[in-house]
Amino acid sequence: MIDFSQNYFALFGLPQRYGFDPEQLDAAYRALQRVVHPDRYAAAGDAERRVALQSSARVNEAYRALKDPVGRAQYLLSLRGIDALAETNTALPAEFLQHELERREAVGDAQAARDADRLAALLREVRSDAAALETTLAERLDSEAWENARDAVRELRFLTKVADDIEAAIGEVEN
């Protein structure tokens, strides 16, 4: 069974940092699933099948965490003992919130007008803001500016949620 205390980066043989070659993560993920996936043990005994299920689930969880920018940053911070998403943390900056409130209003208006094109444009905007924030986050994490990184993670998570909401709104308008 996979050592459940092993850290995700080590599991995939990656350096413990925010920036890495995503191809390398994908390749390591596939190589691991090739040996742990339950399909490889369908003809094995119960014990081996159970171990495969747990190991494969663990690899999937680790992959998901590292593949996703917010998840990866959060995980890196958690290794430093920082819970980026704890509710006791300081609030988001007022300026950021103000901007997001305006954005939310724009989304609401576009949704009410059933304007899928406008929603798509708003989605592109959020995605581009998120991409810029990700670059900032990467710099802060790789330069070990943990507290600043934590703030960026919180903002990035917020933007991810906004993007999800816009996607849901597009789905609703399209149907």
Partner: protein, 622 residues
């Protein structure tokens, strides 16, 4: 270098090692069974050479009829001749918006609707089991032996209740379910291995009663599902129904009897199928009342009356693309699956949406069964030496639980790769609270009432504490079949309260046992002999698996550990040819326990091997 490989036809595995395994496509309209013979997947036809089995079950005076004989009674005996039962799987009466379209006498039972037939009350699980049993017997007759196992396909968008119902039906039919496999994924396996494809593919699967759209990445022998979406109540049936409504309205007849409904529905389907090759078709029927329908259905009318249905399939297409974070232009090919994709207006709509003609080079009726057969063959242990592909599928709908205020807290998001396990902590709401109700739901909506309820259970024995002090960890685990189990434990205090449940839908194990007994008696099969046979197959599988594990990694065991496993194998060997099923099962269970630690160490070694030593080259190559 192409990494997608298919076994050489000239080099089949040695016959004595080959385990009989089949893939079954349990369809709304038709079902099929397929197997891999000499490295090539083939559909197994019935004694008359017909590949399809109409998914129709009739409870007749003289017993149960399945397939073509039942089809002949569609019009004369509508109440006892069950079609499209797949639409009822895992569904309560309230879930069926189209219940009035069925001529059956429905009984509203908790969890899943039931049907009153001439032979008594039947659940959709039992009806489906009749279809699956017919396919099992067909396969056994054709392959000349008992099956080691089967892969049964389900729509990718089936929720937990529908999946569990399908698995129950397969077990009831005497099948050892190796895996529930998503239909579009099965099609992708058949297509991808056949064409050595690489890239991002969409599978557009419009069957008789269900619609799925999956986006897959095919890369170096890995089939990775990126996203799936669909509608489990949209299929060819609905197109027939539009034609049926049009025919009645245009002819100004109706309301019509159940028999006449069936008659006109059949004529509607024929007309629909004719329009695949012709620009217009007659639709003629004489009702039992003497009224006559005599119409010409043109392609233009058909396209117009079904336009909204075609449009309805594009919603899930867009959603899956968004979830996969791809645009239509990034899709390398769209594979068409399901008989309903033969309709020209579907072909046209898909081509327009993706800006390229879809791929139709595999038989849309058979491709799912063929893919399932390929997967079954590998899972049964018949993997050829050079056959090294892997399938990574996803869960279609988010799983979560109810929190305060009737809101859903998602624990596992949709399109998460399975298997997956995820835990989340919750706490108590009141001082001194000693029990917690856990309500498991599936769906995307925020309000619990808008999601599908999968089950409720209670965690009891929480030590009394002030509100918010308890730490209750709820773990959701989804296995490779896409089936959920939930466990909960409180762990602040030494006292541990824990529970594990598998949400199940109206069918308790005892009920399955009863049905099994009834159906077996009716099929004149000796249940005890069958159970013994199954135990023997399992014992042989376990012995073979243990032997090969010892051969490969015996060095991981200290001599006394090795002796322990050898000692546990001895009684299995002794009992496997005998008739004492219970003793044999106990010995197999003991062998399983004895090999647990060994299994864990073997997995460790495999994982270590991936990142070090021999696998470094293949990693770098990737």
């Amino acid at each position: 270098m192409a990494l997608l490989q298919i076994a050489e036809p000239d080099a089949p595995p040695a016959p004595h090692q080959h385990r009989l395994a089949v893939g079954i496509d349990l369809g709304t309209t038709n079902s099929l069974v397929a197997t891999v013979r000499h490295g090539i997947p083939v559909v197994l036809p019935d004694a008359e050479g017909r590949p399809l089995l109409p998914s129709i079950v009739r409870y007749a005076d003289r017993g149960v009829e399945v397939g073509y004989p039942a089809q002949d009674a569609l019009v004369v005996d509508p109440q006892n001749t069950i079609v499209s039962v797949k639409r009822l799987m895992g569904r309560g009466l309230a879930d069926l918006s189209d219940a009035r379209r069925f001529p059956y006498r429905f009984i509203d039972a908790p969890g899943m609707v039931q049907i009153e037939t001439r032979s008594g009350i039947r659940t959709p699980v039992e009806v489906s089991a009749e279809i699956l049993r017919t396919l099992r017997l067909r396969a056994e007759a054709s392959l000349g032996g008992a099956l080691a196992g089967a892969v049964v396909t389900v729509p990718a968008y089936f929720d937990d209740a529908q999946r569990q119902a399908t698995k129950d039906a397969a077990q009831l039919a005497g099948l050892n379910v190796l895996r529930l496999l998503n239909e579009p994924t099965a099609a992708a396996i058949a297509y991808g291995l056949d064409n050595a494809s690489e890239g991002i593919y969409a599978v557009y699967d419009l069957g008789g009663g269900t619609f799925d759209l999956s986006i897959l990445k095919l890369s170096r022998g890995v089939f990775e599902v990126l996203a799936t979406a669909g509608d489990t109540a949209l299929g060819g049936d609905d197109f027939d129904h539009r034609v049926y409504c049009w025919a009645l309205e245009t002819s100004r007849v109706g309301p019509v009897s159940a028999s006449d409904t069936r008659l006109v529905m059949l004529k509607a389907r024929e007309a629909k199928e004719n329009l695949t090759a012709h620009a217009s078709t007659p639709l003629v029927a004489t009702l039992s009342t003497g009224e006559r329908i005599d119409l010409t259905l043109t392609a233009a009318i058909f396209t117009a009356i079904t336009e909204t249905l075609v449009g309805k399939t594009l919603g899930p297409v867009r959603k899956a693309l968004r979830d996969a974070k791809r645009t239509p232009g990034e899709i390398d090919g769209v594979v068409m699956v399901g008989g309903a994709t033969r309709m020209p207006q579907i072909q046209k709509a898909v081509a327009t949406f993706f800006g390229a003609p879809p791929l139709n080079n595999l038989n849309p009726d058979q491709v799912v069964a063929l893919g399932a057969a390929i997967q079954a063959n590998v899972l049964a242990g018949n993997r050829a030496r050079d056959e090294d592909w892997l399938l990574l599928d996803v869960i279609p709908l988010s799983l979560g639980l109810e929190t305060m205020g009737g809101l859903t807290e998602k624990i596992i998001p949709r399109n998460a790769t399975i298997p997956i396990a995820r835990a989340q902590e919750f706490t108590t709401f009141k001082d001194g609270q000693t029990a917690m109700a856990i309500h498991v739901v599936q769906g995307e909506r925020e309000k619990v009432a808008d999601c599908r309820s999968l089950g409720r259970f209670e965690l009891r024995g929480i030590p009394p504490m002030v509100a918010g002090a308890a730490r209750i960890s709820v773990t959701f685990q989804v296995d490779a079949d896409g089936l959920l189990s939930v466990s909960a434990r409180e762990r602040t205090t030494g006292v541990e309260a824990a529970i594990t449940v598998k949400p199940s839908y109206g069918l308790a194990d005892t009920e399955i046992a009863r049905m099994l007994q009834e159906s077996q008696a009716h099929a004149a099969e000796d249940m005890e002999a069958r159970a013994l046979g199954e135990a023997q197959v399992e014992a042989e599988r376990m012995l073979a698996a243990t032997m090969s594990a010892l051969d490969a990694d015996g060095d991981l065991l200290a001599p006394e550990e090795r002796a322990e496993i050898d000692a546990a194998m001895a009684p299995v060997r002794r009992l496997v040819a005998g008739a004492d099923r219970h003793a044999l099962s106990a010995a197999v269970a003991a062998l399983n326990r004895a090999t647990e630690e060994f299994a864990a160490r073997r997995m460790d070694r495999s994982v270590a091997g991936v990142l070090a030593g021999r696998s470094v080259d293949s990693l770098a190559e990737d």
